[in-house]
């Protein structure tokens, strides 16, 4: 006998209902064989909107864009086999940048698993090293446990991607349901060790030349304003990793901007002199530290991170505090003394004056730095800024005045070319009130250019600023600098007419090369609604400077 509340639902209907209950209102994906029962059920949902990507990697990065701007778990969906393998890059990217994602993949029916069935691939095995956790769902009733758990795991502690691989028969099987599980929410982090926090506060109070080193964890934990408060109270010059840009406004008096390989000389030189490094939600990535033995050689280290495996991984901390950085900073701010640190701040000011970030051509909108500055001048801090990967990414990281956490979407850890456009589309759909600018290059844009179709279909408010140097610029630069100018496989002999390509996809376009008044044209283009390609040629010989050679110490920078 069934009670009145009991429903008989298929696994697919259960997944859709669980996603609805989870608060998911938009997901990106591509249908195909084994995931079709899910799509059939999704078609009946009045709550969830589906964004049809044109390549599964695009769907994965759209979900990332949604997750990066909202901080909420986002969902992408693919079918089995090539659908799942196409998702892998976006999942690996989410793992390295700690982005909360639930990827639902269709799988061949249970009876066919292991038979080399059509479009069968070992999604579970393939995703073990690139996820926080993964599931191969064994039965329909398991979905009631697995789906909320996937969301809980993606959001808890250090966020990350979770894969749920669901065989077709599990989606088709109908079962009776009377009680629904609670939606999965993030576990609360363990309280930080009070004694360690007190020791850290005492070390900050005693330090003469401290530096605050902010990483992506500050953004993930929503601790940006607390980090600024700490810096202001204790007069801490502050550096940011690529992932943390925007956590402190880059034009804040205490900001030294981005550290590391393409940071300003003054930033890396100040770190070379510091006697205390306070690392918050940062993981001592090799692009940030340069040669580790020469990184902040005089400094004691306080390391605060929610992931205990990050503590002592690269650098042994004098005080390592496991905890949500927001919770730790909350206590730390109260315990540090207000200090002026005039000697240290004037030394930092001296370094800034003597070794600033040099941005030649910043006044000229037809130069790379000038174009970035001109775009920024047309926008306010409400705009979201995405990038692809390459020279343009580093120039934007150096030159764009990022002032807001979650304003900045970039592929930091994996450095995935092709990230920018779909991430920007996801961001624009999640926050339609904002203008989303995606800086890209002629190498990166071609890696997911099919998503021009998705942007046009969704009328996403995305402006792609294509900095076209007719080459793989960062490769060209490295070959120039470190490979005896033997330029190979980095200059494109055939370059598409990007304006025509974009028009063919139904985009509005602006070719800045042809504009008489580029600033006015840029302003008009950025103020328009809907997808817009802004194309600008860049001199191939322009380099990202200064630069720390791979493996060298940060204080030994080239150029700039």
């Amino acid at each position: 006998m069934t009670s009145p509340q009991t429903e008989t639902l298929s696994g697919a209907q259960i997944v859709v209902r669980l996603l609805e209950r989870q608060g998911v209102r938009r997901l990106a994906g591509i249908p195909g064989g084994p995931i079709l029962p899910f799509y059939d059920a999704l078609s009946q949902s009045t709550l969830i909107e589906h964004v049809l990507a044109r390549h599964e990697q695009g769907a994965g990065f759209m979900a990332q864009g949604m997750a990066r701007v909202t901080g909420e778990v986002a969902v992408c969906v693919s079918s089995s086999g090539p659908g799942a393998t196409n998702l892998l890059t976006a999942i690996a990217d989410a793992k390295l940048d700690s982005i909360p994602l639930v990827a639902i993949t269709g799988q061949v029916s249970s009876a066919l698993i292991g038979t080399d069935a059509f479009q069968e691939v070992d999604t579970y095995g393939l995703t073990i090293p690139i996820t926080k956790h993964n599931f191969l769902v064994g039965s329909t009733v398991e979905l009631l446990d697995v789906i909320p758990r996937a969301f809980r795991l993606a959001a808890s502690g250090r966020p990350g991607p979770v894969v749920v691989d669901i065989p077709k028969d599990v989606l088709l099987q109908r079962i009776e349901i009377s009680i629904w599980p609670a939606p999965g929410v993030a576990d609360s982090a363990p309280a930080p060790d009070a004694e360690l926090v007190a020791t850290a506060a005492a070390m900050i109070n005693a330090a003469e030349r401290p530096i605050l080193y902010l990483g992506g964890g500050v953004v993930h934990s929503g601790a940006s304003s607390l980090a600024v408060e700490l810096a202001e109270k204790a007069s801490l010059p502050s550096v940011m990793t690529l992932m943390a840009l925007g956590a402190m406004p880059v034009d804040h008096a205490l900001s030294l901007g981005m550290l590391g390989m393409h940071g300003a000389r003054c930033t890396n030189l100040a770190m070379d002199e510091c006697d205390l490094l306070i690392a918050v939600g940062a993981r001592f990535d090799d692009r940030a530290t340069g040669k580790v033995a020469a990184f902040c050689p005089q400094a004691k280290i306080i390391h605060i991170d929610i992931d205990p495996s990050e503590l002592d991984k690269i650098k042994t901390a004098h005080v390592g505090i496991r905890g949500d950085v927001k919770a730790v900073l909350d206590v730390l701010v109260a315990q540090v003394s207000a200090r002026l640190r005039q000697t240290w701040l004037s030394r930092v000011a001296e370094l800034k004056a003597d070794h600033p970030l040099r941005m030649p051509g910043i006044e000229d909108p037809r130069s790379h730095y000038g174009l970035i500055r001109a775009v920024a001048d047309c926008l306010d801090d409400e705009a979201t800024i995405a990038t692809d990967v390459g020279q343009h990414q580093m120039w934007v990281a150096q030159a764009y005045p990022l002032r807001r956490p979650r304003q900045w979407l970039t592929s930091g850890g994996l450095g995935t070319m092709g990230f920018g456009l779909p991430a920007a589309i996801g961001a624009a759909l999640a926050e339609p009130q904002r203008t989303v600018v995606c800086f890209s290059g002629d190498g990166s844009i071609l890696m997911n250019i099919q998503e021009f179709a998705t942007a046009a279909e969704e009328e996403a408010n995305v402006k792609v600023v294509l900095m076209n140097n007719y080459s793989l610029g960062l490769v060209f630069q490295q070959q120039t600098m470190f490979y005896g100018e033997r330029i190979f496989a980095s200059k494109f002999k055939g370059v598409p007419d990007f304006i025509k390509v974009a028009e063919g996809f139904g985009w509005q376009t602006l070719d800045l090369d042809q504009a008489d008044d580029p600033v006015a044209a840029l302003g008009k283009a950025l103020a328009s609604r809907g997808p817009m390609l802004i194309h600008a040629s860049i001199d191939r010989r322009e380099q990202v400077l200064p630069m720390v050679a791979p493996g060298a110490a940060n204080k030994d920078m080239i150029g700039g």
């Binding site: 191969l136 495996s309 991984k313």
Partner: protein, 102 residues
Amino acid sequence: MNSITRSETRALAHTVLELDVNNHAGVMAHVVGMFSRRAYNVEGILCMPVGDGATSRIWLTVNEDARLDQMVKQIEKLEDVLAVRRHGAEHEVFERLEEFFR
């Protein structure tokens, strides 16, 4: 580190790790994958279900090298790993099995 010879491997101190894990297909792949993708050889593996079979115990013997602390932290993060205990190489679990490997 990756190219140590067999005799060098024997000369290195060993550590025995005892893991309580959930018992389902894939857990072993999660655990050994953590080692293999770092080119960190696992010298010995034992695994049997415990009690009603909901959980299993995995015994590993591995070389004691500089990465071991990081390895243990990474294993502790695995969702299906419930507990990790470290023992010295003198632990008898592998010694008792030696007669099967002559």
